[in-house]
């Protein structure tokens, strides 16, 4: 696996940093080189939260990067904030729920711009709380940075105490992960128009 650079961005509370950490740990457990760094400036207090993650077979250099292979922006503000990380090689993913409003802010340069109905699916088919897990699944579907089984194991590890209290949560999370993965794979096949 050559170097894959991912920027995940959302509003505070959307769980962007949580899934970045789980993805990074999953990759680490699969013996891949991984670096994960959150943005933690003052903007974090009430601003857009961004996670920068890199995966590779080889030692990874600088912890941040200028352009990402995949950007996932989960709010309108996140779209505006992360457009700078996109260039002609970037898959730029956003939640299609705010498509109309965010259209102007979408990056001018991208390999492909992909709208995913993660918020809508979470709210109507699963549970709003697993919205971020759908996104985590989507990242795996787009990049294969970790195996599906590895991602499930990392989720299990991270949420063990919650799953213990309520075993239904396990199935809910795994389902969200799978739905996200499938959505991303479909969107790549369909080639959702830029």
């Amino acid at each position: 696996m050559s170097l894959i650079k991912i920027a995940l961005a959302g509003e505070g509370g959307q769980g962007v940093q949580s899934i970045a950490e789980i993805l990074a740990e999953a990759a680490y457990n699969e013996n891949k080189q991984t670096i994960y760094i959150p943005n933690f400036g003052l903007e974090q207090r009430g601003g857009v939260s961004i996670a920068f993650i890199q995966f590779s077979d080889k030692r990874i250099g600088a912890p941040k990067f200028n352009k990402a292979d995949v950007v996932v922006a989960l709010s309108e503000r996140a779209v505006e904030r992360t457009a700078i990380y996109s260039d002609e090689n970037t898959l730029f993913v956003y939640d299609s729920g705010f498509k109309a409003e965010a259209a102007e802010a979408l990056p001018k340069e991208a390999k492909k711009i992909i709208g995913i109905a993660a918020i809508d699916t979470a709210n109507h088919e699963l549970h709003p709380r697993v919205f971020n897990i759908i996104i985590m699944g989507a990242v795996i579907g787009l990049t294969n940075v970790v195996s599906f089984e590895g991602a499930k194991a990392a989720l299990e590890h991270k949420l063990a105490y919650k799953f213990e209290k309520n075993p239904d949560l396990r199935e809910l999370n795994f389902k969200a992960l799978e739905i996200g993965k499938n959505m991303a794979e479909e969107s790549l096949k369909e080639g959702v128009a830029k």
Binding site: T34, I37, A62, K64, N66
Partner: protein, 369 residues
Amino acid sequence: MGGARKFMAKIMEEPRKAFITGNEAVTWGALAAGAEIMFGYPITPQNEVMHYWTRLAPQYGKGFLQTEDELSAGFTVCGAVQGGKKAFTATAGPGNVLMQEPFGMAEAMRLPLFAVIQQRGGPSSGTVVYSQQEVTLTTFGGNGEGHRIVYSTASHQEIYDYTIKGFNTAWKYRFPTFLLGDGYQAKMREPLEMYNPEDRGIKMIETYPLIGLPGHIGDNREPQHLCNIYSLEEELYEVVMKVSAEYEKISPEIVEYEEKECENADIIILTHGVVSRAADDAVKALRAQGIKAGYFRPITLRPFPQKQLREAIAKSGAKKLLIAESAYGQLDRLTKQEIYGETIKIENLFMPGVGIIDYDIINKIKSIL
């Protein structure tokens, strides 16, 4: 948190891999080094060193005191080490500025103080994020002569390694010793291997009290002369000259650096800390494109590997030296004073307070070759 205790026990038995932040690596390194107490005052991006230490410390019978400010945190370390305690602190930015007063006392009294600096943006409160703008402050801050030892790390493995080493350096040579990291290293997660120092042949130095020693001065022991103020100019002069000579004498033993591809290079890239990761990648990419670039990285910024850098320049035949740093010329000034007389042309890539990636260095090299 019983898990943490078990984990430490496992590390002590056999090396363990972990995927953690740099601040956590400092804490685990300090525990492995046998640190007994931390004094600190919160400041981003160093907070988690304190945070993890306060979680782990009680399980190991270790101490922690949050003082009223950084001045006090630094001075309490000065006090604890005089009592023979393996003590340390961690700070950043404006906290590093405030700590210069106690750091100066540690220089004056030759105290084995160990401090971790996680650089943030400056001047003033700057940013809470990242920079390499505390190089001048950490190497030559205070109203003294920079009699300090400063290790600039570039990975979590090094943070762990040099935290362990830093305590030993401080106690062996009795010069204040610093681990100079930054906000990126503090906050990012990456893999490292943690181990029991003894398994690597590292013998941790037994600490010893500097005051309250047995015996009577002039009778059966010499006085300690732990002094930070003198009545006469000549007295101070004598002490500073003596300390300077000692510092210069031990410097060759302490100096550390990393050099790659300098045997035959048209240009040498000089970086330190986390930026050297980008320089390493840049050299590989440039070499692949047929551009002969070399890599030189001082690991100790004080004392500086000036002899080794001069040798690298000489053997490479390089015409240019590119100094790249996340500051506006702090490494540049330090380097120039150390290699005074060299005629190699020095170019700069100054990006104060922001990260530097291989792409930035490659572009700069192409624009100057």
